[in-house]
């Protein structure tokens, strides 16, 4: 296996607040292989955004990295000077954010914002940057690029803004693209467009992608490997196939059973009780223990470490094997035909799998 492009180990981030210290990221490990799409899934406050922002040196306010390493092409991003980090940001690692409206400078023309990064990294000269910006606008599917070059962000629709953000992020042909909830602020029909565009660009430029999302549907349809985060820790990390077929963490399974999609029947849903808590002290037990139906005294006493379950499949649960055994049974039940033939969802599901058979499959 090729050397990892980015490898994060034992990352820790804290926030100072008036009412105490918030332990947002508590020892996170993950790595991204070249050309891979890694999905980081979690609910709000799970630390998924904070993790990537911190390794990019983009933490805001009173957030602080308190430990860990983030090796990118041999360099520890957390130890670089600001200058060196600026060199990497935008040139080797591009980023896109959730809300394209607030993420674009309202008083700067779209074209200038795209050119800016190329000029800062001396990717090309002014003329070259201009031409590439035009070309990028076309590539990301913005019609009449020449006219749109001179537009301001508020003159764009939501989808076009996110396309422009993507153009900016990939302008210097980075090796890694970090997309932080890129489709959360757009409509469903636009969401697919954005994801398709990301996929195209990834293949064309041979990038790795880290996709942060709270949406299981997005993650499982786009990513090669998925990490589930909770309370600033990685709960489970698995290749897509394992993630879908053999989820081994109660939280992963709980999230999976919380996903509502077309065809979901009420009896298939099962809520995870309680809500996620913000850690005001370093974890001293399994942070999910309080909400977990598998909880034992061990879970309340000891932090489960992320450990390998099978090749490439890691899980942080004391009882992962038991969970896997039982969930496998549940999974089988889930995959069985639902209800009676009259059900609309059964029909639509049939159509889906039919389409799946016809279509080319992803590797």
């Amino acid at each position: 296996m090729a050397e990892d492009l980015l490898s994060v180990e034992d990352l820790r981030v804290e926030f100072e607040r008036s009412d105490g210290t918030v332990y947002a990221v508590n020892g996170v490990d993950f790595s991204v292989a070249p050309g891979e799409t890694l999905g980081i899934v979690g609910e709000s406050g799970s630390g998924k955004s904070v993790s990537v922002l911190s390794i990019m040196g983009l933490l805001r306010g009173n957030g602080q990295v308190t430990g860990g390493t983030a090796k990118f092409m041999g360099k520890d991003l957390l130890k670089l000077r600001r200058r060196q980090l600026e060199d990497i940001r935008g040139r080797d690692i591009g980023m896109i954010f959730q809300d394209p409206m607030s993420s674009l400078n309202p008083t700067m023309r779209i074209g200038d914002q795209i050119m800016e990064g190329m000029l800062a990294h001396q990717y090309t000269n002014h003329k070259g940057a201009f031409n590439r910006a035009l070309q990028l606008l076309e590539e990301v599917g913005i019609p009449e690029a020449r006219a749109r070059f001179r537009s301001y962000p508020h003159e764009f629709s939501g989808g076009m803004r996110q396309r422009a953000m993507i153009a900016m992020a990939v302008a210097c042909e980075p090796q890694l693209l970090i997309a932080d909830e890129p489709t959360t602020a757009v409509d469903v029909t636009v969401q697919t467009q954005i994801l398709v565009l990301l996929r195209e660009l990834q293949q064309k430029q041979r990038m790795s992608v880290v996709l942060i999302t709270h949406d299981f549907g997005v993650a499982t349809n786009v990513c090669d490997r998925i990490i589930v985060m909770y309370a600033g820790k990685v709960m489970e990390s698995a290749p897509l196939a394992d993630f879908l077929a053999r989820p081994a963490h109660p939280y992963t399974i709980g999230l999976r059973r919380s996903v509502i999609e077309v065809g979901t029947q009420a009896h298939q849903l099962k809520a995870i009780p309680g809500v996620a808590t913000t850690l005001m002290a370093p974890p001293h037990n399994c942070p999910f223990a309080e909400r977990c139906q598998w909880v034992t005294d061990l879970c309340r006493a000891e932090v489960p470490e992320l450990r390998p379950l099978s090749d490439g499949h890691f899980v942080a649960c004391h009882r992962a094997e038991e969970v896997l055994a039982e969930a496998g049974a549940n999974g089988a039940e889930r995959a069985a035909p639902r209800g009676d033939g009259a059900s609309a969802s059964a029909r639509s599901r049939g159509a889906w799998s039919q389409a799946g058979d016809e279509a080319t499959l992803h590797a």
Partner: protein, 318 residues
């Protein structure tokens, strides 16, 4: 960061209980300048209240034998060319200043809040007329209107109070109207309408309590501003007429006498300045304390943070 505290469904911890007032006080206490300002303002108010009784002389008492005396044990702040005891003058000035500025600010507040609520809730023509008037008041300094009003009404306490108070309403009206407008179409009011609350009920229980803090902060900024305006009237010779003492008169006169009798300036100007600074520290502290959104990393992290800067801007009119 999401604001998450207790858990629901299972094992709910009772949420931490603090009254909003005690939370505000805790935030206020953290600001040491504001705390010091509050002490000074308190002393000022007390001296203003008891000043007339503790003052060695009446404000009108003159004694030409002791004209232009430098500070001494008998006259700690010295005397002026008419032999007024400056300490007594300062104490009486405080009394006058408190009456005029609190009265004027209160008057502005009442007019402004009523008109602002009315404009914000009713909309339509009333709103248009009121807002055109507000625009007018913002285009031209209210001080000019005060000048005309003083000339028309006279130079004693009440006329000066009215002359300062009447033009001051626009700040409050615009503030209240803006806040009400923001809430009127918001989901809080919509929810109240949805369970059948009447307009009056919504105004009383939903709108007023939510503008109260901002109005109170505006008042805290308004009082020292009116103190400046009051003194400013004296500087152009149109404030309280002697023998009524006022800071403005003392400072204006000190300017002309500063070469010979500088103590006439030291005490009144210094005390005046300290009072103003203290008021501003208090007002600033109140703004931070009563506006939890300004609390960085506070639990309400997701609200927008436009309000503070905007209010700072309107204070540009200082």
């Amino acid at each position: 960061m999401a604001a998450i505290t207790a858990t629901a469904g299972v094992a709910v911890r009772a949420p931490r209980r603090h009254s909003q007032l005690s939370l505000a006080w805790r935030r206020y206490k953290r600001n040491r300048l504001a705390l010091a300002g509050a002490v000074v303002v308190f002393v000022y108010l007390v001296l203003g209240l008891i000043g007339p009784w503790v003052a060695p002389q009446n404000y009108a008492t003159t004694n030409f034998l002791y004209a232009n005396h430098p500070p001494s044990l008998r006259f700690p702040f010295g005397t002026d060319n008419l032999g007024h005891d400056m300490l007594s003058q300062v104490l009486w000035s405080m009394r006058n200043a408190i009456e005029v500025t609190f009265g004027a600010s209160l008057l502005s507040l009442v007019i402004g809040v009523v008109l602002g609520l009315w404009a914000g809730m009713r909309g339509g023509l009333a709103d248009m007329v009121i807002m055109r008037l507000v625009d007018f008041m913002f285009a031209i300094p209210g001080f000019f209107l005060s000048l005309f009003l003083v000339v028309a009404m006279g130079y004693t306490i009440l006329p000066v109070l009215l002359a300062i108070g009447i033009p001051g309403w626009a700040q409050y009206a615009r503030l209240v109207r803006g806040l009400v407008l923001g809430m009127r179409n918001g989901e809080m009011v919509e929810a109240a309408r949805a369970f059948g609350a009447s307009r009056a009920h919504i105004a009383r229980l939903y709108l007023l309590p939510n503008v109260a803090n901002s109005v109170f902060v505006a008042f805290a900024f308004g009082v020292p501003f009116d103190l400046i305006v009051m003194a400013g009237l004296s500087v152009v010779g149109l404030g309280l007429r002697p023998p009524l003492p006022s800071f403005g008169n003392m400072i204006a006169q000190a300017g002309t006498n500063v070469l010979g009798y500088p103590w006439l300036m030291y005490f009144p100007a210094a005390i005046f300045a300290v009072i103003l600074i203290s008021f501003l520290f208090v007002a600033d502290g109140l703004q931070e304390a009563l506006n939890p959104k300004a609390d960085e990393g506070g639990r309400i992290g997701r609200q927008r943070r436009g309000g503070r800067a905007r209010r700072l801007g309107s204070r540009g009119a200082f």
